[in-house]
Symmetry: C2
Amino acid sequence: MRFNQGAIVTVRIKCLQCAVRLIAPCGAVSHETANELARIVHRRRIAAGQILNNTANQAQTFSIIVKGVVKIVDEHTDGHAQIVGLQFPSEFVGRPYAESARYLAEAATDLEVCSFAGPAFENLMRVHPDLELNILKRTLNDLDQARQWMSLIARKTAEERVAGLLLFIAGKLQADDAEPSNAVAFDLPLSRTEFAECLNLRLETVSRQFAALKAEGIIKTNRRRALQVCDLAGLKARAQV
Amino acid sequence: MRFNQGAIVTVRIKCLQCAVRLIAPCGAVSHETANELARIVHRRRIAAGQILNNTANQAQTFSIIVKGVVKIVDEHTDGHAQIVGLQFPSEFVGRPYAESARYLAEAATDLEVCSFAGPAFENLMRVHPDLELNILKRTLNDLDQARQWMSLIARKTAEERVAGLLLFIAGKLQADDAEPSNAVAFDLPLSRTEFAECLNLRLETVSRQFAALKAEGIIKTNRRRALQVCDLAGLKARAQV
DNA sequence: CGATGACTTGACTGAGTTCAAAAGCTGTGG
DNA sequence: CCACAGCTTTTGAACTCAGTCAAGTCATCG
């Protein structure tokens, strides 16, 4: 018993140091609920490309992202994949109240996550309405965001789509404390192929749009993934926002 | 007091006769919660084209659809509209826990709905966790469906998109008791223009796809909106499902 | 029955796809 | 440190499907 309590305290110290504590579900609930969550949490590192919600495994797992980016993927029967969303640090990944998730959650980058066994988490929601309310609000936000994503895919030109997705990712990866300056730099969490899978384009088209944006001095790239937005206003103009 | 109770009983008789009672949120909760809902409900008729969530009006309204179809619309600044979802009888329309809804909810057909004042409904959710749980489950379903819709928009050819949307609508409008036979008939809730707004196509393209499906004997149309699916398997094949 | 708006059909154009090949990173081992 | 293999990305050229513009046809309603 004493040993068990000790373990809990250890977890809670980790939690207090956690980068996403203040905005993640685990930190936005009552002290009591947070303690209960700490009791069942598993902190894990996951390599890029790994699947979070293994469908073969009967029991569902839910995760809170501490570090990295997760792709939500719809795999078509013909092998073509459509990325239907991205999840960023502090966000919740998983599908409560379903036998199995309809979409693959795949690590786009190396990940640090806090995971919970599905049934245990669902029980906790039932006992602690503040946790349930938090998940409800998150899901409502995810729904709004899914529809925003849809409108992105539905934009007319390839230029608008690519610029729009770059803006979306820049907004998510920019540290909250940074003022929205005219220059932003970050590492893209997605390959050209994945970019294309987000926007319903071919990778060649995405590459050409990147080239055009570079030629116009709106972005700079090097080492494949490193990206710098030089002209944020120009990017917004291309995205028609 | 007595008068008030009388009013409640009247409402509840209506509810007991209601077509969607068994599957709508108001019927899937405890007797006590259902009574509380009946106390604040307003049954309304709404004409096609009317907006349900008037943004000018400060207070949000939530609705349960009894009859008809609602479009969820993203209005771009350039006047172009993107339909990001459809809601059918028994489904919930509205955006709890937000100042104002980000998307227009517009009657696609004439409607019968049960409406609730936003704040009153949110209070009820707080007091009755079973209602909150029901709305959470519905929102999770809506999220899955939004992503399914996204995959529809993202299909390669116009033929796949049109066939896919026809299948989706057929599935929703088919009475639950009907066996999934090879022939289905119903009235389209959308104009060609709205079809195009769903699928990110032009109305001419939609029209041409309808013509092609008719020529192949897969569907029949008359009186513009009336539609009959003659070859369900063929339709599924075109939709690549 | 005629006016109005919704739908259909036709011809042409163009953005994005497709196929193909070259160039550029990245990591490994000699 | 360089050379090489294996990959991703870029660039090129031809093609194709949906978009655009325009002119019809058809329901529906007053």
